[in-house]
Symmetry: C2
Subunit: 883 residues, 2 copies
């Protein structure tokens, strides 16, 4: 049978899967000789057995636990349950992947009505002993016995009110004794049994409680959101460790430090501590802690030792660390170390710095940043030129500006978020239970807590703008509003928060586009050294093109032309073009559109000078530009049942019948893309002419243009032949008219399944392919994105029928297989073929890895995803080299 | 340079591609020593050159023509253009594939104002000579000069009126001379040039005219309808042959015979002839000819010779022949032979007979019947028990009963046919210009002509019911009605025609299902010896199942269950089930449906005893069972603008909003099939239980049942696992309840692209695949059948972008490739896998050939297509063996 328990002296510090991250760290630190209280780890395998056995601990486990406790007793000289010198322990969860706050922890276990006196003997501090006892009962009651925490909180608040004190530590022994008594009564009343006095019973129940929390709603939600699947972390370990106390007087303290600033990445200890407090007080944000720098003066010896330890840990792990420590009567203990969770800004900066400090190689520096996180660095910021005044200011906990409607609880945030509203979650402080509100919100604002409070940590991990500790804010949950002085902000009112400055504004404040930091620029320049994939942008406007170029795009991979049709000044012309039966009128309308399109193309080609610009001809079905059928029908009915609108009615009925004729049962699979180009060649001809003339006019200006004409929805090679004839003819005409040669490439979207299967035929008559993986995924699954994504797809993912949403991450088994077939056939038929991807997957790191493996030429992504794509492409190349 | 002209003595009789069918036959017959007038063939290659050169004859062609004419002159002793003994020739088209009446023919060429006298010298018959001359001018004027035939007809009718005669041959010489003069004047007036007198100019123009007719509208339409692509026939040849005259007196005749009855296949000459007439008179149906049997008495020597020749030709060509002959003053000439076009009945009978006569092997007998034609044999017939009286009776020209609304011209037939109406085309006689009307009509009725008239030939070739020569019918085109005695039938009135009896009825007459003839049964039994593919039926009702079984189906390949949901007594329950929010009400509704479905399944399983019955669980999206959105909206609007309907309005609005929520943008790709099964497992569970209980109850009755449960719309193997768990559980429950073991197979439609690509995973958890090629084609092309088939698909086919409608004939390059991938992956993962196809392609011969090659187990087709599928499957096997 596999070993179920490892002492900290025994465990393999690299085996996080077996020991959990926390357990592995404690073993590692113990073996490195760092001051870790003695303890042991119950493995994640035991957790799996616990569930396999129907939530029961394996037989014989507690005998082994007793042996391990005996080891701690030998190391500490204390005894578990001893009435004079009792050993107290903490019982903590710890999975392979850190899930901060998602699972449960029990402290001070081993206390009972007898050992509380032993604790007094040990410390000479009755107040401390009873305070510790009441903390234990409360935590144990809530987590292991499942009692509503409010019952305890009410008793405790009442005790404080009685003595008219504000802080917990101001309660005296007698009050605490009563609190303990009342807490025990609550437990007995709620569970029907007296509070357990046997420390081993307590320990057994606590171990089960921790295991149980692995499948708690919070933990399950978290794992789903962060895609933590069983192959990454399967069950939690349990860490049992001798208690040390940071709350045994003013030469005691507890704190959390990062070895570098997790918000900026700047080198140097960063964190907070509380004198005379237990760790939970820091994390919960109940008391506002002191910055770590002050420890240098208060406890210089401990501070020096902490700095040394942090440096050793960082070099050992090659990652900035997040370290929990406690100082008990002047002696420093390290209770936990783990890789520091950082926002993207800090990740980028630490990667660059640690590489320069010789801790990391360039490859390691690139690999440690998750590409998705870079998008966080491209948050908008409040325009410094905007003439706006904040109504208040808090702590700048997670950068970026966000605007949304105020909501006061996570459920409301989720409800509104789902229906597409932008919201800002505003609370006194946040708790792990609020996690779904974070997902739904644009940003988070709290009135309490510091930079390591729950809200700050979670928001940073998600890259959401966050302002914490904005103390002037007074929330009135009854009235669903908050006040800052005289200003009242109601639920649903718009506010803007600036997580970089901590400012809070009323209404929507002008913002500006983000710029790349010098650190990010450096990291991306390293990425460029490694990547093989080109990176282009999906951009339809000169502004978007400019932004993409500033982010490093090497061209436009997808410029949609339908958005140009939809512009306010053009739509009426487009509608007329569609509705007329007269060829003449249609051509007249197209002639009006031509110069407009030409100017669009000129602007974009000019911005992208020297780079390819791939312009997709009209894609949507024509009826998409017409008034909506339902609205028209309502209007017709309204006119029909009114009087005196006969001629108007007639007109509308005519349009209605036209719209009805043009409407389609499945527009996604209907008369669109190249099919329109073939039945209405005059439309494509107009667009081709606009592109050619734009190019010609710029060439005459001396500008280096590289237009590429891309045909959508191709299923049959012959479709491309028909359109190519138009392109060639128009190009010749324009070349003759302007007297210049236009360098133009001709290619196609590969977004129809059949195009993949006949890619050899298609490659022979094209210069490039561009995979449209959105449509290709729809065709491959027979899933209409609009119809399935909010309907059954979530059910499929929750039931494990699908691992990912295939519209976000490429489905390698199906869509990926088609892409491979197409690449193989295409390259064999035309070795010069350029192959890109311009679906949304072009900006998804996992999909980019796939594209690298599949041998694509480039990916194309939305401007904000360009840095993501560059980094992901470099990682794909590095990983391929390493394998 | 390739040889452009072949004398009949030279040409390779098997090279129809080069010489055309008619030319090859003439060469062959000449070389067999049959009495063919001398002549030559200008090849189809010359026709291609004519078009390549922009509709101009190749240089030097006419020199070679002159040489060939000299050959004819030598053989006949006549001279082209000779004023005393002139050679006259016919100039006929002839492509590789016979296209009767679709292209042009010119007779009597070489006549002019001088040679007409020579013709008088030759024949001593001035009336004949001038009649021949006027015929020539009229035909040449119409075809070569493009003059409206009406102008000639008016002059001719006027001449007849003047003499008060009825028949053409009653006109005297003087009248004919005037007619000739007037005809020439028409030509000069219409073309601005005198009628050409030089025979070589006439010949050159006529050759060009024939080539031009290859691209005439009629010919192009015909080729498109019959899928005659350039690889089958590319251009027409021109046959120039010495004229012989069947109109030189009462010892002359002209006629057309079939070597077997083209309507029944019975052995023996069959056809008609006209004494003292030219061939065109027979075909056009202007004079009613005599049956060929009478020739035995009138010209016994010629008749005996004709019978001999026909027998030789049939044994030589291994096909019944369609022979044109002319008797000129007692001497028999054969002017053309070609494979006889027959209806399916005759094809089947002649195949069986000729095999028994030792002319054909069984393989040859099977291969010569086009499978599609068998469907013609399954026409309904008028119920003999129906108590109906015909209003009139004509000639039974093409079997089968048809009912439709009367229309009087081809355009109207097409217009109504397109909008889905069933029509019967009623005319005095039909002409090649009416061809589009035939396509659109259910059947054809004429008041003139015999069994070889245009209407009869064309209707038989299409397998459409046809009654000709119903002389009592008097059509009034002005009033758009016809009369039979006192009965008036107006355009749009329903009539029924019975092409087997020649009867015509008012209104819709009861019909009965067809039965297999003994000949067809014999042919199909031979087919069964050869075929490897199984043949099953798509049938949803016991009636359809019974019919399919009587046609030879070996099981049900697709039993759709949604039609059972749509039955009048069930739909309200289904709607309630869908609209309720209460789980309880939904289950209650399903409990009501269960016994109904169980009875459906019992009936079908009972009919198909001993054979597999593949039942597909619910496929369409649930909203398909709800009232239509548009209708509801109209209703709501009506109620809204009326008064006093408040509560009704509220109710309707509730349903409307539910329908709106459930409606989908692209229902084809939405929440349907297995996706509904997964989100609403109670529906599939009900269906599975109904199947299992039906099977169990029949097993107890001692009936051998083989139910197969088939899941639609599967894209992901895991979907099948989820449903399989339900099936297994319910099956066990039912087995326990009834105390019997139920033999049940579990399988899936393969109709989603991704299922093909992951067929290995799917095969591991299924017993069978069934390709749903309708949906698979939609997914592969991104074509929504409903949206494209009547919109751009016809344009695609006419432009040659697609060769076939891929919803009719499997697209081998795309869809076929996916099928091959799926078969390969599936069989490798599960060698026991049974693989069928149940899309509409399962009844399409070309697609069946593909299925054979792809290694499928069976095809499933609609009941009427079962014999088609059996024959096609045997042909596929024979062809594969022969290759």
């Amino acid at each position: 049978m596999a070993k179920e328990i490892y002492l900290f002296e025994e465990g393999d510090g690299t085996n996080k899967k077996l020991l959990g991250g926390k357990g592995a760290g404690l073993c590692q630190m113990t073996q490195l000789g760092l001051p870790v209280p003695p303890g042991f780890v119950i493995t994640t395998e035991v957790c799996k057995k616990y569930y396999e056995a129907g939530r029961r601990l394996p037989n014989g486990l507690m005998d082994k636990v007793k042996e391990a406790i005996a080891h701690i007793e030998r190391k500490t000289g204390k005894k578990f349950g001893d009435p004079h010198n009792p050993l107290l322990v903490s019982v903590r969860s710890g999975a392979a992947i850190s899930m901060p706050g998602m699972m449960d922890t029990i402290l001070n276990l081993g206390l009972n009505d007898t050992t509380v006196n032993g604790l007094i003997e040990q410390t000479g501090d009755a107040r401390f002993a009873y305070d510790t006892y009441r903390r234990f009962i409360q935590l144990f009651g809530k987590i292991v016995l499942g009692i509503d925490d409010k019952l305890f909180a009410e008793v405790f608040e009442e005790a404080k009110r009685k003595l008219s004190v504000k802080n917990d530590y101001e309660l005296d022994v007698e009050s605490l004794k009563i609190v303990v008594q009342r807490f025990k009564e609550i437990c007995e009343k709620e569970t029907g049994k007296p509070f357990p006095q046997d420390p081993y019973i307590q320990l057994e129940m606590a171990i089960g409680g921790v295991f149980k929390s692995w499948m708690g709603k919070r933990a399950v939600d978290y794992r789903r959101e962060f895609k933590i699947t069983p192959d990454i972390a399967d069950g939690t370990a349990v860490n049992v460790m001798a208690m040390v106390f940071g709350n045994t007087g003013f030469n005691s303290a507890t704190g959390v430090v990062f070895t570098r600033d997790p918000a900026t990445g700047a080198k140097g200890l960063y964190g907070d501590y509380l004198v005379n407090a237990q760790g939970e007080d820091v994390v919960a944000g109940i008391r506002t802690p002191k910055p770590i720098d002050e420890l240098k003066n208060e406890m210089p010896e401990s501070y020096r030792e902490l700095v040394e330890i942090c440096d050793r840990l960082e070099r050992f792990y090659k990652e900035p660390q997040d370290v929990e420590f406690t100082i008990e009567k002047g002696k420093l203990y390290i209770l936990q170390t783990r890789d520091a969770k950082m926002n993207a800004l800090a990740l980028v900066r630490t990667s660059v710095d640690m590489c320069k400090e010789g801790i990391l190689t360039k490859e390691e520096a690139l690999l440690r940043v998750k590409p998705d996180q870079l998008e966080q660095l491209l948050h908008k910021t409040v325009d410094p030129k905007a003439n706006v005044k904040p109504i208040t200011k808090g702590v700048n906990a997670s950068p970026g500006a966000a605007c949304g409607k105020v909501v006061f609880d996570a459920d409301e945030a989720e409800r509104r978020g789902r229906s597409g509203e932008r919201v800002i979650l505003v609370r006194e402080e946040t708790k792990p239970e609020d996690i779904h509100g974070f997902f739904a919100a644009q940003g988070v604002l709290t009135s309490r807590g510091g930079k390591t409070s729950h809200a700050a940590v979670v928001a940073r991990s998600m890259g959401k703008p966050c302002v914490v500790g904005a103390g002037e804010i007074v929330i009135d949950h009854e009235k669903r509003q908050f006040k800052v002085g005289n200003v009242i902000v109601k639920e649903g009112d718009l506010i803007t928060i600036d997580g970089a400055s901590g400012n809070v504004y009323i209404g929507e404040v002008p913002m500006i586009e983000p710029q790349l930091s010098t650190h990010l620029q450096e990291l991306l320049s390293w990425a460029n050294e490694f990547r093989k994939l080109g990176v282009r942008a999906n951009a339809d406007t000169p502004e978007a093109a400019k932004l993409a170029r500033s982010f490093g795009a090497e061209g436009i991979g997808l410029c949609r032309t339908e958005r140009m049709f939809n512009a306010v000044d053009r739509l009426p012309i487009v509608v007329k073009m569609i509705l007329t039966d007269s060829e003449e009128e249609r051509i007249e309308a197209l002639n009006k559109l031509m110069p407009m399109q030409k100017n669009d193309f000129k602007d974009i080609l000019r911005v992208m000078e020297g780079y390819p610009v791939t312009i997709r001809l009209l894609d949507p079905p024509l009826h998409e530009f017409l008034p909506r059928f339902e609205e028209l029908l309502e209007e017709v009915n309204r006119l029909k049942y009114s009087k005196g609108f006969e001629s108007e009615l007639l007109e509308k009925q005519k349009i209605l019948s036209r719209v009805r004729v043009m409407s389609e049962v499945n527009p996604m699979l209907g008369h669109r893309g190249v099919r329109v180009g073939i039945t209405h060649p005059e439309i494509y001809e107009m667009q081709v002419r606009a592109i050619c003339e734009a190019a010609a006019e710029l060439i005459i200006e001396g500008i280096d243009v590289k237009p590429q004409i891309m045909i959508p929805q191709v299923a049959i090679a012959e479709e491309l032949v028909v359109i190519k004839n138009i392109v060639n003819r128009v190009k010749e005409e324009v070349e003759k008219k302007y007297g210049v040669k236009i360098p133009i490439k001709y290619g196609t979207m590969i977004e129809v399944v059949r195009a993949c299967l006949t890619a050899d035929q298609i490659a022979k008559i094209t210069d490039f392919f561009s995979f449209g993986t959105n449509d290709l995924t729809q065709g491959t699954f027979s899933f209409s994105r609009e119809d399935v994504e909010n309907k059954f797809l979530p059910i499929y993912i929750s039931k494990g029928i699908l691992k990912h949403n295939p519209f976000q991450t490429i489905d390698e088994e199906g869509v990926g297989k088609l892409i491979k077939i197409a690449v193989e056939l295409g390259k064999a038929a035309n070795p010069e073929l350029e192959i890109g991807i311009c679906g949304e997957h072009g900006g998804d790191p996992e999909s980019i890895t796939f594209c690298h493996k599949a041998g694509l030429t480039y990916v194309s992504a939305s401007p904000y995803r360009i840095p993501v794509a560059i980094l992901a492409a470099s990682q794909a190349a590095i990983k391929a080299k390493n394998n």
